[in-house]
Symmetry: C2
Subunit: 377 residues, 2 copies
DNA sequence: ACTCTTCAGACAATCGTTTGTCTAGGGCAT
DNA sequence: ATGCCCTAGACAAACGATTGTCTGAAGAGT
């Protein structure tokens, strides 16, 4: 039994055979009698606990970790556990990591923290990692190449056992497993989790084509966005098959590094100034689509009556925008989870990991698309 | 000069007086002659570097850290630095942290990873922390009390030197500095960064009052949301001063734990079924406001013609919604930055930290509010 | 009474750094 | 030639945990 001893932190309960000093850590003068250990100057370590119990740190460690194959009587085990509870002992993951060469930590590289796309992926990642007992550092780089280069190194220095890179242009192989979400470059040691863009292009173009749209404007993503290129090439390929013409003068290009709808507004304004006829617009993503719709509306064009708009991603706002967005859903949360799952498998030494994991998109039809009316510009 | 030696990793360049073994780490059999150390089984440590240089680890550490007051000739310094570069030496922050008892790591506690409010605060936090050379663990708890209790302990075990809690109901004091964003409970050792809710209520109510609204519906936040209570009390107080009546039958209460506009939709639907006249709605936040607007529209009510809606937060979607939202802006990014700044000050031992840091809200007038027309319900 | 097992736990090395102290040797002045 | 100081590093002890090996004592068996 361990009666609580207010005012005294360390006390040898039973003198051990060898070490029977009442060693009191230097920090713990008797001035420390405020409360039990509330204002803990330092968290209590294994050694402190061991001294208190009259045992050696190793033994305490064995008990608390339930190491099998060690003979320690039940009574002692309980004494140890009681003391651990009493002092609210929390093992130092730092020390443990150093010793075991395992940190249960990964690094997550992301361009931006407050963007819908990235945060939905991150929530999938976070869910899986926390569930599996891992923690993660997130580092945002805003597409700055020097940071993209530097952060993986720093993360490794902090013990990251693997890295998940979201929409990030990694340049080369790393010494630890890497999973890239929306990564297109083939790099040795990097698993790419990405959308089936071919299928996505089919869904979007077929939908518009079936609605009778023949004059379609296209918005290309920013050069630094990983998906831009692949998505565009898929669109071009599918358009050819469907005999849909892609006109250069109806093709606009995002440039700015924004995560607000402001992204899509000016480019669509410019498009409108050309006065070319089009009845539909395929936007690079939902955020830009919202900006595009605003630009159309400001030009007295109704969506979908005059122009149909298809978004991409299906971020949360898409369903509640006015008009609600027809969009190509990426299962972002799932993609994050898959990325985390694959990464942990690789960390745990699973060799036959996939080099690539393609997930299927889904067409979500809402209000922003309608049959081509013919009266539009 | 250090000619590169492909195929040989460790080589004593100059025999030191005492230790002149060509000690090769067990892992580095001569099978490892693929490339220099690309597929690094293990990152190169100070000891490996020291063996290679014929120095002792301590000396190498002294050089690389530029420790002042140590006499080491320039030539040696350069030799050391060249080797560090060559092997791409990255010090283990783990080991360093253990030794120096400083981790340059903080923990961020957040209910949800993919919510506009939280992520905007996080981006402010992230900006400041990274800029100051800190990394952070984020942990999301979805308002589950056991996780809210557990995560701070785990974070401390991982060496977090401080914690930032966003919209999180902490219960008690911790042994490390804590800054709460939108925390209202007064807890010893916790600095609260919060909005001036009194001022916010004034801005919202005055605005509607000046537009002629007299029948105003109010939406209260979820009980688990930190701001709910304070915000509501401020509204009640200001309403009394302005002689605005708060009718129970026009007061609705959010319950669900959602971060999508779905949050506000059903409660407003229910409100509409009561068929009570109101010309304006003050929403708990922008997300719920978007859902509310959708509910109004589905009931054939126009915003702002029939009902004016005021949001709260000014998330990015607010400006681009249709109609764009009149809202009370919280400087979320700034609040995150302030929280991080205060936390780091406290970690660095700054004693006279504020117990509270109130930031001013701002009224952003957009399209969702208009003069009361009288023709509304 | 003697040996052999087993039990309960101590001991020590280790993970990769940092940092206070110590020393061998060289150069200098006397 | 002697003593002293300085230089350039080595040495060792941490930090807090884990883990393989070792030992003293008690108990069992003959």
């Amino acid at each position: 039994m361990q009666p609580s001893q207010p005012g005294v932190i360390l006390k040898i309960t039973r003198g051990g055979p060898g070490t029977s000093e009442t060693r009191v850590k230097s920090g713990d003068s008797m001035a420390q009698n405020k409360k039990d250990q509330k204002r803990a100057d330092k968290p209590v370590s294994l050694k402190i606990l061991a001294d208190y119990l009259g045992l050696c740190p190793a033994t305490v460690s064995l008990v608390l970790n339930n190491v099998p194959g060690r003979s320690i009587p039940q009574e002692t085990r309980e004494r140890v556990r009681a003391a651990a509870r009493k002092f609210n002992y929390q093992p130092s993951l730092l020390a443990r990591s150093l010793r075991k060469q395992r940190t249960f930590t990964v690094g997550v590289l992301v361009p931006e923290l407050s963007d819908g796309y990235h945060t939905m992926v991150m929530s999938g990642i976070g869910d899986h990692l926390m569930q599996e007992g891992y923690f993660y550092f997130s580092a945002h780089h805003r597409h700055k190449p020097d940071l993209v280069e530097e952060y993986p190194r720093l993360l490794m220095g902090r013990g990251a056992e693997g890295i998940i890179a979201i929409d990030t242009a990694l340049e080369h192989e790393l010494a630890i497993p890497v999973v890239a979400v929306a990564g297109h470059k083939k790099i040795s040691g990097v698993t790419n989790v990405l959308l089936d863009h071919r299928r996505a292009a089919e869904l979007a173009l077929r939908h518009l084509h079936q609605l009778g749209h023949r004059h379609i404007a296209f918005m290309r993503g920013q050069p630094f966005s990983s998906d831009s290129d692949t998505r565009w090439r898929s669109i071009v390929a599918v358009a050819r098959e469907l005999n849909i013409e892609i006109r250069p003068e109806l093709t606009i290009q995002l440039e700015k590094d924004l995560t607000s709808p402001e992204l899509g507004y000016p480019v669509v304004q410019q498009l409108l100034q050309l006065k070319r006829r089009f009845t539909a617009l395929i936007s690079f993503n939902d955020i830009a689509a919202i900006g595009a719709i605003r630009a159309l509306r400001d030009a007295n064009l109704l969506v979908p009556d005059d122009v149909s708009v298809v978004g991409f991603d299906d971020i949360k706002a898409a369903a509640y925008h006015n008009p609600s967005l027809t969009t190509i859903r990426q299962p972002l949360h799932d993609m994050g989870q898959s990325a985390a799952r694959i990464l942990l498998q690789r960390i745990q030494g699973f060799k036959d990991y996939p080099k690539e994991c393609a997930v299927p998109p889904e067409l979500i039809i809402r209000e922003s698309t309608a049959p081509a009316s013919g009266r539009s510009r």
